[in-house]
């Protein structure tokens, strides 16, 4: 029963967080200088025109009333119309979200692979120069943010050895008709491997830039947990049975050491998604973050509101799922 109560408390805090995020978005948007109504009307508009438009957008009501109307619409999936693109914000956001999700998930997979492989290698060769080298590389990887890694990758893999594309999501020359906005998943499902290759050639550098700092964090924590495990009795037992060191690390140590890393990956995944905003910009990748920066520069208030809220929803959902998975996986919490 305790777990049910914890679950309800967690759901309530999630809702409070989301409501708080909505309030902040609303307040920040209201104090943007410049009158959106004035921008929408032709120069010769009369006061009556202004009042009519204000009434149409509900701007003649009190701030509190405006907020409740806005929240009510948002809950129903009505985010308003984009001022610059003249389309419903909901459609625009849903259209771009898959690109950002695919990039984030690819980056997460790369980070887990790189970080995990580095941690296992360092554990296998602990006490040698290889471990020292991995530690130094991890320290450097951790110290520099995704933005700088992205620029460095552009220089090395985009210009010096032009292996990958430095901008865009897919080559238009491919002439491939996508039925959804999940390009990568769709190409994989339809077994169009030349399309998959082209997509990867576009996504690899931004994904790598996002993945490098996270890989370093995974490396450090997993290596630490593995190190602690290696002194346990069951490892000694496996050794006396004559198993090789690498199979001991993979079969016996890893399953026991992985839980803290899994939790950390969950928390860090939201940071990674947050990083897509500038990384998409850097690589001209047509995702949500790139659209958000355009929206801010063009002062497209409804669009900014919609995108920021979708990010907030995504982040709180990821955190919620992580907490629940942790509760489900951790025997101490499960049987409490």
């Amino acid at each position: 029963m305790q777990i049910a109560r914890a679950l309800i408390t967690r759901l309530i805090t999630t809702l409070v967080t989301l409501l708080g995020a909505a309030v902040i978005v609303f307040v920040v948007i209201r104090v943007v200088p410049g009158n959106p109504i004035a921008m929408m009307l032709p120069p010769g508009a009369t006061d009556a025109d202004i009042d009519r438009l204000k009434a149409l957008y509900g701007l003649d009501k009190s701030i509190l009333e405006q907020f409740w109307i806005w929240i009510g619409n948002v809950v129903q999936g009505d985010f308003g119309m984009s001022i610059t693109l003249r389309q419903p914000v909901y459609d625009l956001v849903i259209g771009r979200l898959p690109a950002t999700l695919e990039l984030s998930i690819l980056a997460l997979l790369i980070a887990v692979f790189l970080g995990g492989a580095a941690a296992l290698t360092a554990t296998l060769y602990r006490g040698t120069k290889i471990e020292g080298g991995i530690d130094v590389a991890g320290g450097v990887a951790l110290s520099l943010p995704d933005f700088l890694w992205g620029l460095a990758l552009i220089l090395v893999l985009g210009v010096l050895w032009p292996l990958f594309h430095i901008s865009g999501r897919v080559s238009p020359s491919l002439g491939f008709e996508f039925g959804s906005n999940f390009y990568l998943f769709e190409a994989l499902a339809r077994l169009q491997f030349n399309v998959v290759g082209d997509l990867i050639a576009h996504m690899l550098m931004p994904a790598l830039a996002l993945a490098i700092p996270l890989a370093a964090i995974i490396l450090q924590l997993l290596k630490q947990s593995l190190k602690e495990c290696m002194h346990d009795d069951y490892i000694t037992l496996a050794r006396t049975k004559g198993y090789s060191e690498s199979s001991i690390i993979l079969r016996d140590a890893l399953p026991n050491a992985i839980l803290p890393t899994l939790t950390l990956i969950g928390v860090q995944f939201t940071f990674l998604i947050g990083g897509t905003v500038i990384i998409e910009r850097l690589f001209s990748y047509e995702g949500l973050g790139n659209m958000a920066i355009d929206a801010v520069i063009n002062r497209d208030l409804p669009l900014i509101q919609g995108i920021v809220l979708v990010f907030a929803l995504l982040f709180t959902l990821v955190n919620l799922v992580v907490d629940m998975t942790y509760a489900a996986l951790n025997p101490r919490l499960r049987h409490a």
């Binding site: 805090t13 708080g20 933005f147 460095a152 910009r281 801010v296 982040f315």
Partner: protein, 283 residues
């Protein structure tokens, strides 16, 4: 094992010296930028546009690291850019630290409703992508040095608040804090004389880390053209220009990027080194 230990113990020293040395060099470059810059960082010379650095063909020895598309000297712009980068790092880093650490200390040690509010605020803040938050703030309050600093403080105070709160909570549960209370020390006195000194190494490491982050945020804002102003040379602005002309003039991107790399790396390594140096447990 002894060998490995010896190495570990020597490492912080080297780390401190290397990173501290680079930062000191940078401070000197920033202070003396007007004296050592070979050119006016804003002077345009369209006939000397996109000159490569001196060791390349077709260069002009007057422009050591080459010129950008408007014929402005890359080296001079980098030196002047160091001034803004360091101002942002010091001012924004310190303010973020003061505000974030204070809130974290209040939440972690005094608990109660203050903790409730501060924790909820942290949760809400964590629901926004920081870069988008910063860009949105700049769009609202306008560009300029003060705006950039305000944006950094507003988006990043949670980094200090989160860590200090957790540390203060674990320190607060320890026996020495209870003894101080029994000895009749007030709550505020305990927080200042018992908790704060024990959290300080962590705060110092975070502070230097934050200085590096502040420089990055400024660079990112410059990159999307929302930073200080267009007629002030900034590393981020140079990087944005370099990114746009990467196939014609790689040096416009490479030199500021390399400087930024070293600086951010130095700030974080300097902090780690200091922490190890001052942490009684690690020492």
């Amino acid at each position: 094992m002894l060998d490995a230990r010896g190495q570990i113990r020597r490492l912080p020293g080297v780390r401190l010296w290397l990173s501290g040395g680079w930062l000191a060099l940078l401070v000197l470059a920033a202070i003396f930028a007007p004296l050592i810059s070979p050119h006016d960082p804003l002077a345009q010379d369209l006939f000397a546009g996109r000159l490569p650095p001196v060791w390349e063909q077709g260069s002009d020895p007057a422009f050591l690291l080459g010129t950008d598309s408007l014929g402005r000297d890359v080296l001079s712009r980098m030196l002047y850019g160091a001034r803004l980068a360091l101002i942002v790092a010091l001012v924004a880093g310190t303010l973020t630290c003061l505000i974030g650490a204070t809130l974290g200390l209040i939440a972690g040690f005094f608990r109660g409703w203050a903790d409730l509010i501060i924790s909820r605020l942290i949760d809400i803040w964590m629901a926004f992508p920081p870069v988008l938050f910063a860009i949105l703030l700049i769009a609202v309050i306008g560009t300029g040095l003060t705006s950039v600093i305000v944006a950094i403080v507003v988006i990043d105070w949670t980094r200090f608040a989160r860590v200090v709160r957790a540390e203060a909570m674990s320190q607060g549960a320890m026996d020495y804090v209870a003894s101080a209370q029994v000895a009749g020390r007030g709550r505020l006195g305990t927080a200042m004389t018992e908790i704060l000194p024990n959290v300080l190494p962590t705060i110092v490491a975070l502070l230097t880390l934050e200085m590096g982050i502040a420089i990055i945020v400024e660079a990112i804002l410059s990159f999307v053209n929302l930073s200080i102003s267009t007629d002030q040379p900034t590393w981020g602005g140079m990087i944005a220009e370099g990114r746009a002309s990467i196939y014609q003039a790689w040096w416009v991107l490479v030199f500021p990027l390399f400087t930024l790399f070293l600086t951010v790396l130095s700030f974080s390594q300097f902090g780690e080194g200091l922490k190890e140096h001052f942490d009684p447990v690690l020492r």
